[in-house]
């Protein structure tokens, strides 16, 4: 093995290696650079652990959402409905726990189950009726948003069981609320599935070459079905964390996570494992965007700049990544 490795490395020009290494860590470098800039501008308010622990906790739902997106994306399907699923899940918690006094444990299980049902409905139309995933999930987004408004009478429901709030933001490890560690745990699990299990290989081949996968004996439809259900469950989990972070169920603000999470999914595919949707990259991208937005907000820059930052960062990063890869065809999309 050592012999083969050394011959393989010799076969490749050294410059390529460095270029590839830089590509893998480029986003991390830019992130550190961003922190340095904001730190220099606001050494007191920005560069303190409290600020970062807030960023880490409050963007945990977005991180989970980005993970929810990359699972079906790897299998070749878009799931736009994750934002609405997040909202549905947190609204369910509010309605069932606060208004109907169901125990919080049962409510969380029901919320996750609702996410699975959403995934199954999406999968039904995408796989069995062969409707493009973009269309189906755009439709279910609107559908769920309506249902949430009906369920909640379009009002924010406060007073969710304190156990949930405590479990999400009550305790801290290294000064960072638990919320972050839930997202981190999800990253580790997904990273394991993607890279260290045959299932991860199947997911990848189904996304990159459906016919190839089919002719190699992979149950393509079942893999896609599973990916969409996983996406729904993860999005519901994001909804739980969101409800915990807020301590209430907000029927409107959940959808705001959708675009940053999608941006992070694609941005994350340019880093750590460039060219693949990968959980590590997605989470780095989420917190990179979060840092930028928080820093800009603290500088007192008007709100519209954050949207420009989100979109600009995405387009710029994907473009730079494509340019460094030269002639190689894009792996994404």
């Amino acid at each position: 093995m050592t012999e083969t490795v050394s011959t393989m490395t010799q076969a490749r020009p050294a410059g390529l290696h460095l270029g590839r290494l830089f590509e893998r860590i480029a986003l991390l470098v830019v992130w550190v650079g961003l922190i340095a800039i904001f730190g220099a501008l606001m050494p007191q308010s920005f560069l303190n652990w409290g600020n970062f622990s807030i960023i880490f906790a409050s963007y945990a739902p977005a991180a989970l959402l980005a993970l929810a997106i990359i699972v079906p994306l790897t299998a070749g399907d878009y799931d736009l409905s994750v934002g609405a699923t997040l909202t549905l899940s947190s609204a369910l918690i509010g309605v069932l726990n606060v208004w109907h006094h169901l125990p919080i444990g049962l409510v969380l299980v029901l919320a996750l189950a609702a996410g699975a049902v959403v995934g199954a409905v999406n999968a039904l139309f995408i796989i069995f009726f062969r409707i493009p995933s973009l269309v189906v999930t755009l439709g279910t987004t609107s559908l769920m948003t309506g249902i949430v408004q009906w369920m909640t009478n379009s009002s924010t429901i406060g007073g969710i069981d304190n156990a949930l709030v405590m479990a999400v933001v009550g305790g801290r490890l290294f000064g960072v609320p638990y919320a972050f560690y839930y997202a981190a745990a999800a990253v580790v699990v997904l990273g394991y599935v993607f890279d260290y299990t045959p299932l991860g290989r199947r997911l990848l081949f189904v996304g990159r070459g459906r016919e190839v996968a089919r002719l190699n004996g992979i149950a393509v439809d079942r893999v896609r079905f599973g990916a969409l259900i996983a996406s729904g469950v993860l999005a519901a989990a994001a909804g739980i964390v969101y409800a915990g972070v807020l301590g209430s169920a907000d029927p409107y603000s959940g959808l705001n996570f959708l675009l940053p999470a999608f941006a992070a999914a694609f941005l994350g595919a340019t880093t750590i494992l460039p060219g693949r949707f990968n959980p590590w990259g997605a989470v780095v991208a989420v917190y990179f965007l979060a840092t930028g937005i928080t820093g800009l907000t603290m500088l007192g820059i008007p709100l519209w700049v954050t949207n420009v930052f989100n979109g600009g960062a995405l387009i710029l990063a994907v473009t730079i990544s494509q340019l460094t890869r030269g002639r190689e065809a894009s792996d994404i999309g």
Binding site: M1, T4, M8, A11, R12, D195, Y196, T197, P198, G200, R201, R202, L204, F205, R208, G209, E211, V212, A213, R214, L215, N216, G217, I218, A219, G275, E328, A329, D331
Partner: protein, 543 residues
């Protein structure tokens, strides 16, 4: 050799028609990196003539068509005249339209999800100068174009709802429409080139198509008709030009030529007519798999037996259905009927077959479409190699990446993959090396039956030799191989036995001394003749 006076100074035969040829090419040659695809071909097409262009696979027909379409630049020294005017070579893409030529390729070039109107008026609709589309006028123009040939196709219908025959007719009408206006303006005839438009059409469809071709010729324009089907060519054409090995094999006047003469000219020597098949020749090797009544796509119910350790070739002319066989047996395409009986007693109805099931039964399929169906270019070699058996590397909850790479490297060495770096993407390899990776994938599993579709398409000569050697070695060790290929040379080299298909049925079996490149090519042409005369009750091979 030409019955038509030439603009390029060839002397016309006495008594020949005086009209200026529509197309006159002389000394067209084309070399691809040392290999001569065309060696100075000359022929001419008279106005109002239906001209057959014939030749085996690799005879240079498609190269010639691509030169006319401006896709390839011919070697220096060739000449081309259109309606008596010399045209500068090489043609630029699109030049043919300006000259008054149009093409109908085998895939027809229609957009299935658009309407007949949109397809028919495509060029006009997308380039209209006015910036406004007068749909009423467009519809009228489309109806007129179809009506000119007595076709009643609804202009609002989507093309994918048309029958195959209607689609072919539509494509030909469109090709004629493209040149009609130009021709009317100049008063000179145009040329429509039909490249294998018929292989997938039923008999009645071919008749309709011929009616259309005759109508076009009646307007004074010419048609070049390319087909493998000699009966069809004999029926529709006025004259025939035959290419063989890149050179002109001869030109014939259809009315004075016999079927045998044409075949002889295509194949290059007199061929013995095949005896009536129907007796199953003894399979030298013990049977491994009996395939009975397999039917799907263009393939009619077919029986065949694959011997253990046998390399069985299946071939035929385009559209004869042989190319479906590997996919049907593997369960990759829907089967109408049929069953597999393995020597160990397993009976599998093909309706219940799926790729997963096939793999479990020890079958393997290497599809012809390497990038679309066989391997994923954007993923590493190692993942492509072990796609069907990643589970083998999953131990103690972890995918053993190191073991995968180690084994992929060893496999790459054995199959001489260059460069042998399992972490590289498949796209980094040449076509031949990528094919080695994909063959290694299947061979490594030791399948009982390996199904191949055009295994050496787009593969360099050196790799071909390696692939053949690997196949022979595996067959000697007891693996059975079924290889579908249009390449007679390849089949002659590796197969123990070759089945010839025509019109969806097995019509001949070649073994022993006849199993040569020429023998297979001959059988292909003789076969179409056989089934053509005896259809629809052409005898299938077994039982």
């Amino acid at each position: 050799m030409s019955d038509v006076p030439s603009a390029i100074g060839r002397v016309a035969e006495p008594g020949a028609p005086r009209a200026l040829p529509v197309l006159d090419v002389a000394d067209i040659a084309k070399t691809f990196g040392g290999a001569k695809a065309l060696r100075g071909v000359s022929f001419s097409v008279a106005p109002g003539e239906v001209h057959g262009l014939l030749g085996k696979n690799g005879s240079g027909k498609s190269t010639l068509v691509k030169i006319l379409a401006g896709f390839h630049a011919p070697d220096h020294g060739g000449r081309l005249a259109f309606n008596g005017e010399m045209v500068d070579l090489p043609l630029k893409p699109g030049d043919f339209r300006r000259l008054g030529m149009s093409f109908v390729h085998q895939n027809l070039g229609l957009v299935p999800s658009l309407t007949v109107l949109e397809n028919l008026r495509f060029a006009h609709l997308t380039t209209a100068r006015s910036g406004y589309i007068d749909w009423r006028a467009e519809r009228a123009a489309a109806r007129e174009a179809l009506g000119r040939f007595g076709l009643s196709i609804d202009t609002a219908e989507r093309v994918d709802r048309l029958s195959p025959v209607e689609r072919a007719l539509l494509a030909i009408v469109r090709a004629f429409e493209e040149i009609r206006v130009a021709c009317a303006a100049t008063g000179k005839p145009g040329l429509v080139l039909l490249d294998e438009p018929t292989p997938f059409l039923p008999r009645e469809g071919v008749e309709k198509l011929f009616g259309l071709i005759r109508s076009i010729a009646a307007t004074g324009s010419s048609v070049i008709f390319i087909s493998h089907d000699i009966d069809e060519v004999m029926t529709i054409t006025d004259r025939i030009t035959v290419l063989r090995d890149g050179a002109l094999a001869g030109a014939l006047e259809t009315a004075k030529a016999t079927h045998e003469e044409v075949v002889e000219m295509i194949v290059g020597r007199r061929i013995a007519r095949l005896g009536t098949p129907g007796h199953q020749a003894a399979v030298a090797k013990p049977a491994f798999l009996r395939v009975s009544g397999v039917a799907g796509g263009a393939l009619a119910a077919t029986d065949l037996v694959v011997g253990k350790g046998e390399i069985l070739g299946v071939t035929g002319l385009i559209g004869s259905g042989y190319e479906e066989l590997p996919y049907l047996i593997f369960g990759a395409r829907p089967c109408r009927a049929g069953a597999l009986d393995f020597v160990d007693g397993a009976h599998v109805p093909l309706a219940a077959m799926s790729p997963k099931r096939a793999l479990d039964l020890g079958l393997a399929l290497l599809p012809g479409d390497r990038q679309g169906a066989s391997g994923v270019d954007s993923l590493p070699i190692v993942d492509n190699m072990f796609l069907p058996d990643v589970d083998r590397f999953f131990r103690f909850g972890l995918l053993n990446r190191r073991a995968m790479v180690r084994e992929a490297f060893a496999l790459g060495t054995r199959y001489e993959v260059r460069p042998n770096d399992p972490a590289m993407k498949l796209s980094a390899l040449s076509g031949g090396n990528a094919q080695k990776v994909l063959i290694a994938r299947w061979m490594n599993r030791n399948p009982r039956l390996l199904l191949l579709d055009e295994p050496t398409q787009g593969v360099d000569v050196g790799t071909r030799v390696q692939i053949f050697a690997a196949l022979r070695a595996a067959a000697a060790a007891g693996m059975s191989v079924l290889c579908a290929s249009s390449d007679a040379e390849q089949l002659a080299e590796i197969c123990d036995r070759v089945l010839i298909f025509a019109r969806g049925r097995v019509c001949a079996e070649i073994t022993g001394p006849d199993l040569t490149k020429d023998g297979i090519a001959e059988a292909c042409y003789a076969s179409i003749d056989l089934t053509g005369r005896t259809a629809p009750a052409a005898p299938a091979l077994a039982s």
